[in-house]
């Protein structure tokens, strides 16, 4: 279906990534957001708070990130499309509720405008060091989805995709911005509402009495209802059966956890979103994401000018990781170069997928600024030898 025009600010704008992310959420149909102020993400909810009264929806600034990350889940069960927005320290506080969204299968978008860490770290400066935290941070096994925009335009475009994926798979979807993408101002084109495809929640057609909250078909994604519609649902963070009732035994655990994992793993091929530039026949492939992909692009151009056969693979969806594609390329390339604003996180995934068939040269960076293109170029040259 098409976007609700009330939330779509059609036109050509000159705005930063945080503002564009907010517009993406409104266009996607987000009508409930909760958050707690934290640099460098706050502009997203500031704009949401200013815009939502006339769009028709709700923003509430709560007392902390624990409250924000569970208030959105209450709102999702009342039928809204929901979002919370934060950065490093706030994300750390949200970990328990990521698990609740995973086990109770709450469609929700979690925006993380990454800054340097650990702890208070570098509040106003960029990093990409929360990539493993969103994958593994909450206890127990779960499979999130994460997207990494590299421009304000993508903060708009991919945010719509983030909401669509949250509704399709009923998982927490992470929108992994960073301080530079959040604060860089560029041209952002917002199309007509009729040109924006949005995914509606997977509502059940069943009647109360027939409906079981966690019964699934081959998609492994259960149908949803909302509180107040007479279904008298029970939803719990405990391991549960198809009725949603606690079932504290190994059989129920096996069935539930495997389904939660498989609804993403079985669709991993469909979820892959990489942007490839000259990877076929390349000797070296640079694997990057987010703001680092912009810097890497300059290095790739310079390497080509120097006669090196280098390709560029950008991860738009970082989780699930496109292991299959990396495995294919590992058979043909000499080496991968992985620059990232952390001390080596997604590089571990590249190494895992390459499985020793191609060299993986990491280019870690502690954050606070972006890489120098020259540093990436030097690494490409080293890889090409």
């Amino acid at each position: 279906m098409h976007a609700d025009p009330k939330g779509v600010l059609t036109g050509i704008h000159f705005i930063d990534g945080d503002h564009a992310a907010c517009e993406g959420a409104l266009a996607a149909g987000c009508r409930f957001a909760a958050g707690y102020p934290i640099t460098p993400s706050t502009e997203v909810v500031e704009r949401f708070a200013a815009r939502i009264p006339l769009v028709g929806g709700m923003f509430i600034q709560l007392e902390d990130e624990l409250a924000s990350s569970i208030a959105i889940q209450g709102a999702a069960w009342a039928g809204k499309k929901v979002m919370t927005v934060t950065s490093g320290p706030g994300l750390s506080l949200m970990m328990e509720h990521i698990g609740l969204a995973a086990i109770a299968e709450v469609p929700s978008v979690w925006v993380d405008v990454q800054r340097g860490g650990p702890s208070t770290g570098l509040p106003t400066l960029p990093a990409q060091a929360d990539m493993m935290q969103v994958k593994w941070g909450s206890h127990g096994d779960y499979e999130p989805i994460a997207l990494s925009p590299n421009s304000p335009q993508e903060c708009f475009d991919l945010m719509i995709k983030a909401f669509n994926l949250a509704e399709t798979y009923r998982v927490p979807v992470f929108f992994m911005m960073d301080e530079v993408v959040g604060h860089m101002t560029e041209r952002v084109v917002i199309p007509e509402a009729s040109e924006i495809e949005v995914v509606e929640r997977k509502w059940t057609a069943k009647k109360p009495g027939e409906y079981r909250p966690y019964e699934t078909d081959a998609s492994l994604v259960p149908e949803m209802v909302k509180a107040g519609d007479g279904y008298r649902i029970h939803i719990t963070g405990l391991t549960h059966d198809e009725r949603g009732y606690p079932a504290l035994n190994p059989q129920a655990q096996d069935k539930l956890v495997k389904r939660l994992i498989n609804k993403i793993r079985a669709n991993a091929d469909k979820l892959v979103d990489v942007r490839e530039d000259g990877v076929e026949g390349a000797d070296v492939v640079v694997v990057s994401f987010g703001i680092t992909s912009r810097v890497a692009g300059a290095a790739v151009d310079a390497a080509r000018a120097a006669g090196i056969k280098v390709g560029h693979l950008r991860l738009v969806i970082t989780w699930p990781f496109p292991a299959q594609r990396i495995r294919q390329l590992a058979a043909t390339v000499k080496a991968f170069v992985v620059p990232e604003l952390n001390m080596g996180q997604m590089a571990l995934e590249v190494e895992r997928a390459a499985a020793g068939k191609a060299a993986v040269l990491t280019l870690p960076h502690a954050g606070g600024t972006v890489h120098e293109p020259a540093a990436i170029l030097a690494k490409i040259k080293e890889a090409a030898q």
Binding site: G56, L62, E63, S68, V82, H97, A227, R232, I235
Partner: protein, 295 residues
Amino acid sequence: MSATDVLSCEFENPVMPYLRQERLPHIWCPGCGIGTTVNCFTRALADSGMDLDKVAIVSGIGCTGRVAGYMNLDSFHTTHGRAIPFATGLKLANPELKVVVYSGDGDLSAIGGNHLIHAARRNMDLMVVCVNNFTYGMTGGQVAPTTPLGATQTTMPYGNFETPFNLPFLADACGAVYVARWTVYHVKQLAKAMLEGLKKKGFVFIEAMAPCPTLYSRRNRLGDGVDQLKYYKEKSKIVNGANTKDVGLSLFQGDIVVGKFVDRERPTWLDAMNEHFTQHFGEKFTPYGVSHAQD
């Protein structure tokens, strides 16, 4: 009549339609007071005449946290301490719902204390039932923010020396519009308070004192659940309108002041938002959730 005869007779307990009968028996110990509070709650629901499809219940974690799972309502068993913010999101996203938070003293006033005070301050339209058994029952009897001075708990093995919360005073000071305390001896009054709470608009806080024979009474040599009811009967004094400053329960097996302490009017968070935005935006603003207004 033997016990088996009683169970097999045709009489239908009036409480049963309000429960998810397929989930019984419940997990609570013999003598536990939580079930008594649930009985009072079902009576309040019955007397309210409300459309039960529009009543939702949210619990945190702990023995009382299991209440949501037994109620035949839209019910949410959330994370430890976070029932109030979950309920806030549920209520604000659909103001047509009456949302009840039902949890224990540890869940609501220790790990969830920050949410309790802010929801009261905002006058969020929620009814909070806090079953206070002075201990962490589910985890085996550790000290709680409500444990009286001198009472022994597993993590206060030589007796508690921490000053406990006076929960009605806390809720009152933060702005709750309705504050009451009853014990599970006072079943009529507790059910009536819950009924008033269901009808009241704004942040309602009802403290329900309940025995935990397994982990509080036994460890403190206070006998069983019946002995605790005797204590409630003998030491309770009804003082409606009491100054909440004076109703603390810090003394071990001390006097208990029960009653309806606060009943006042104040705009809810949502009413305040709608009024403010109407003033600010004029006709461009459509009041949020008003077409579904309660009452």
